[in-house]
C-alpha cells in the first residue's frame, strides 16, 4: 500500500513537472535556429545541407518574430560563425530583417568591421580569410541593409560604411552591389537631410563619376550654389571638377551652370571621348529643358545623339516637371512609329520597359517590341 502511494506521488510530481513544460514548449524556430547554427559551424556544406539551410531560413523568416532579442542575437551569431562557409552570407537577409534596434546597431558595427578587414587585406590577396567577409558584405547591401536602415539608431554609422565601401578602390565591391549600396543614400528610411549630406560627400570624393541613380531627387534649387562650386575648380584644375555635381545641376536644368560647363568642355574635355560625351550630355540636358516642351520634341523625334538613354531620361524628366502624361505617351508612341518605319525595333525595348515602369505605356502597347527577359546572367 505504502509503495503504491509512493509510486502515485512520484507520478503526480512528474505530471506536475510536465504541465509547465508543455505550456512553455519551445517554438519551432528555436530548434531551426539551433540546426542552422550547427550548419554554420561546419567547414564545408553538402548540396543537401545547403538545401536544408535554405528551407530553414525560409521558415525562420516566416515564423520567427521580428525584433525578438533571442532571434536577432542568434541570427547575427550565425552570420558571424558561418561567414567562411556559405551559410553566413545566406543568413544575412533574415538576420537583418529580424534585428531589433540593438541588433541592427550591432550589425552595422559588424559590417563596418568587415569593410575595414577587406580594406586591410584587399581581394587580390589570395588568403582565404577575407573571402567570407567579402561575401557577407556583398550580401548585406540589398534588402538586408534597407531593413537595417529602418531599425538602427545609428543611421550615420551605416551611411559612413556605405561611403567607405563605395569610395574605396573598385576592388572592394562588385559593381551591382555598389549600386545597391548607393541606393541606401538615394532612397531609404534614413532622413533625407542626412542622406543629402552623404550624397554630397560621395560626389566630392568620387569626382570623376556621374551622380549615382536617385541622387538627383535629393537636391533642389537651394543646393545649386554649393553644387556650382564643385564644377568651378580653383585654378582651373581639371581633377577637382565634379562630374557628379555637373550631372545634378544638368538634371535640374540649371542654366547658370552652362558657362562653367562650356568652359570645362573647351579647355579639358574635347578630344577625350568619355569626358567630352558626358559634358556635352549635361549641356544638352540643360538646353533641352528651356522650354520643357523641347523634352517632348526629343522623345517624339528620331535624333539618336543621346540614344535611347537620352529618350528615357527626357521621359522621366518630363514626368517630374508634371507635363501631362498623355502628351508624353503620344510622344513615345510617335517615336516608336518612326523607328518601326525605318527598320528593326530592338532599340525600342529599353524605352518600352521604362515607359511601362513609369506608367506612360501599358503592357499591351507596342506588342511587336519584345522586352528581353533576362537574356544573360551576371
Amino acid at each position: 500500500m505504502w509503495l503504491r502511494i509512493q509510486i502515485l506521488a512520484i507520478m503526480a510530481i512528474i505530471a506536475m513537472m510536465g504541465i509547465p513544460m508543455n505550456v512553455h514548449a519551445e517554438p519551432d524556430y528555436v530548434a531551426q535556429l539551433a540546426r542552422l547554427r550547427e550548419l554554420a559551424q561546419k567547414q564545408s556544406i553538402s548540396s543537401q545541407e545547403l538545401a536544408e539551410a535554405r528551407a530553414l531560413l525560409e521558415r525562420i523568416r516566416s515564423d520567427a518574430p521580428k525584433g525578438a532579442r533571442d532571434v536577432s542575437d542568434s541570427l547575427l551569431s550565425i552570420v558571424e560563425i558561418g561567414k567562411d562557409n556559405v551559410i553566413g552570407p545566406l543568413a544575412v537577409p533574415a538576420a537583418c530583417e529580424k534585428a531589433d534596434a540593438q541588433g541592427a546597431d550591432r550589425f552595422v558595427k559588424f559590417i563596418q568591421g568587415l569593410v575595414a578587414e577587406i580594406q586591410r587585406r584587399p581581394p587580390s590577396n589570395k588568403e582565404r580569410s577575407t573571402i567570407g567577409a567579402a561575401a557577407v558584405v556583398s550580401a548585406f547591401w540589398g534588402e538586408g541593409a534597407r531593413s537595417i536602415a529602418g531599425t538602427t539608431t545609428q543611421p550615420r554609422q551605416l551611411l559612413d560604411t556605405v561611403i567607405e565601401a563605395t569610395t574605396a578602390p573598385a576592388s572592394m565591391l562588385p559593381p551591382d552591389v555598389r549600386q545597391k549600396a548607393l541606393l541606401l543614400v538615394a532612397d531609404s528610411a534614413i532622413a533625407p537631410t542626412v542622406r543629402k549630406e552623404y550624397a554630397l560627400r560621395f560626389i566630392s570624393l568620387r569626382r570623376n563619376e556621374p551622380a549615382p541613380n536617385g541622387f538627383a531627387q535629393l537636391f533642389s534649387a537651394v543646393d545649386f550654389p554649393k553644387l556650382r562650386e564643385l564644377i568651378h575648380p580653383p585654378n582651373d584644375a581639371p581633377e577637382t571638377f565634379s562630374y557628379g555635381a555637373a550631372d545634378l545641376l544638368a538634371h535640374h536644368g540649371d542654366k547658370a551652370a552652362l558657362p562653367d560647363l562650356k568652359a570645362f568642355l573647351d579647355r579639358h574635355a574635347v578630344g577625350k571621348p568619355t569626358p567630352e560625351g558626358m559634358i556635352r550630355w549635361n549641356i544638352w540636358q540643360i538646353e533641352q529643358q528651356h522650354p520643357p516642351a523641347k523634352l517632348l520634341e526629343y522623345i517624339r523625334g528620331t535624333d539618336q545623339r543621346a540614344g535611347e538613354e537620352g529618350r528615357i531620361w527626357a521621359m522621366k524628366r518630363a514626368l517630374e516637371l508634371r507635363i501631362d502624361k498623355q502628351f508624353i505617351r503620344d510622344a513615345v508612341l510617335a517615336h516608336a512609329e518612326a523607328v518601326k518605319a525605318n527598320g528593326p525595333t530592338y532599340s525600342l525595348s529599353s524605352l518600352k520597359k521604362a515607359a511601362i515602369d513609369c506608367r506612360v505605356l501599358n503592357t499591351n502597347d507596342l506588342p511587336e517590341v519584345v522586352i528581353a527577359q533576362s537574356p544573360a546572367t551576371p
Partner: protein, 245 residues
C-alpha cells in the same frame, strides 16, 4: 615540347578547317574527341576610329593589352580547376579589335547587353568555332552594372558568349581589370556548367554547394569547382556534346 605544341596547333587548325568545311552552323566551341576549347577574344572599342586599346577615357573597352593577356594567363593557369582534362587554346592570333557603333558618343558610358548582342555579336562579330569572349567598356544587364555576363550555351540560345567589362563603369576615366575578382573564371564557370534541364537563371546559381568561391556571392580567388561539376565538364569536353549537355 615545342614540337608537341606545334603538332597540336596543326591538328587543331586541321580540325577547325574541316569543321568549317562541313558547314557547322551550331555553336560548337568544344572540339569533339579532344579536350580543347578554342577561345576567340574580341576587344570592343567605342564608335570613334580614334579609340585605341588601353585608352584611358575610351567609350569602349579601356583595358590594356597587358591586362587582357593577364586575363588569358590567369584563366589558362586555373583551367584544371574546371576539369583536370581541360585545355584552352587561346592565341594572340585569335584576337580581333572592333568598334561598336551603338555605344552612344553622347551621354553616360553605357551599353545594354541585349542591344549589344543584336547590333554587334549577331552582326557578324561571332565565330561558331570558338568560345567568344568580348572585352567591353560598360555593358549593363537590365540597367545594372556588372563585371561580366554570360549568354547560356546549354539551351541552344543564339550566339552564346561571355562579356567582360573594364571596371571603369560610367566614370569619366580610369578602369579596373577584374581579373583580381576571377571574373572571367566566374563567367567561364557559368558557361561550362549550364545544363539544358535546369533553368539557366536559377536564383540559386550563384550559391552552389562546394563552389563557395567561383560562383558564390563573392568573386575572390582561389577558383573552386565541385568535383561533380568537374566530371560533367570532362564528359562534355571529351564527347564534344556541348550543345546537348
Amino acid at each position: 615540347m615545342r614540337l608537341v605544341k606545334q603538332s597540336l596547333r596543326l591538328k587543331v587548325s586541321v580540325l577547325l578547317l574541316s569543321m568549317a568545311a562541313v558547314g557547322c552552323s551550331q555553336p560548337k566551341p568544344v572540339m569533339p574527341g579532344t579536350n580543347i576549347i578554342p577561345v576567340k577574344a574580341w576587344i570592343v572599342l567605342g564608335p570613334s576610329a580614334g579609340e585605341q586599346i588601353g585608352g584611358n577615357s575610351n567609350r569602349g573597352c579601356r583595358l590594356t593589352q597587358a591586362e587582357i593577356n593577364q586575363f588569358r594567363a590567369q584563366l589558362i593557369s586555373n583551367r584544371k580547376a574546371f576539369s583536370p582534362k581541360l585545355n584552352i587554346l587561346w592565341t594572340m592570333a585569335d584576337q580581333e579589335v572592333i568598334h561598336d557603333p551603338g555605344i552612344p558618343v553622347f551621354g553616360l558610358r553605357r551599353r545594354d547587353a541585349e542591344a549589344f548582342q543584336q547590333q554587334v555579336v549577331k552582326a557578324g562579330n561571332w565565330n561558331d568555332q570558338f568560345l567568344n569572349i568580348y572585352f567591353c567598356g560598360n555593358i549593363e544587364v537590365n540597367g545594372q552594372a556588372v563585371e561580366g555576363t554570360t549568354r547560356d550555351p546549354g539551351t541552344g540560345s543564339d550566339a552564346p558568349r561571355i562579356i567582360i567589362n573594364d571596371g571603369g563603369g560610367t566614370a569619366s576615366s580610369g578602369s579596373f581589370a577584374y581579373y583580381v575578382h576571377n571574373t572571367l573564371e566566374h563567367e567561364w564557370a557559368h558557361y561550362l556548367l549550364r545544363r539544358s534541364n535546369v533553368p539557366p537563371y536559377d536564383s540559386g546559381e550563384h550559391v552552389p554547394a562546394g563552389s563557395q568561391n567561383v560562383l558564390s556571392l563573392d568573386l575572390i580567388p582561389p577558383v573552386i569547382v565541385p568535383s561533380s561539376e568537374q566530371s560533367e565538364i570532362t564528359t562534355r569536353v571529351m564527347n564534344g556534346t556541348w550543345n546537348l549537355p
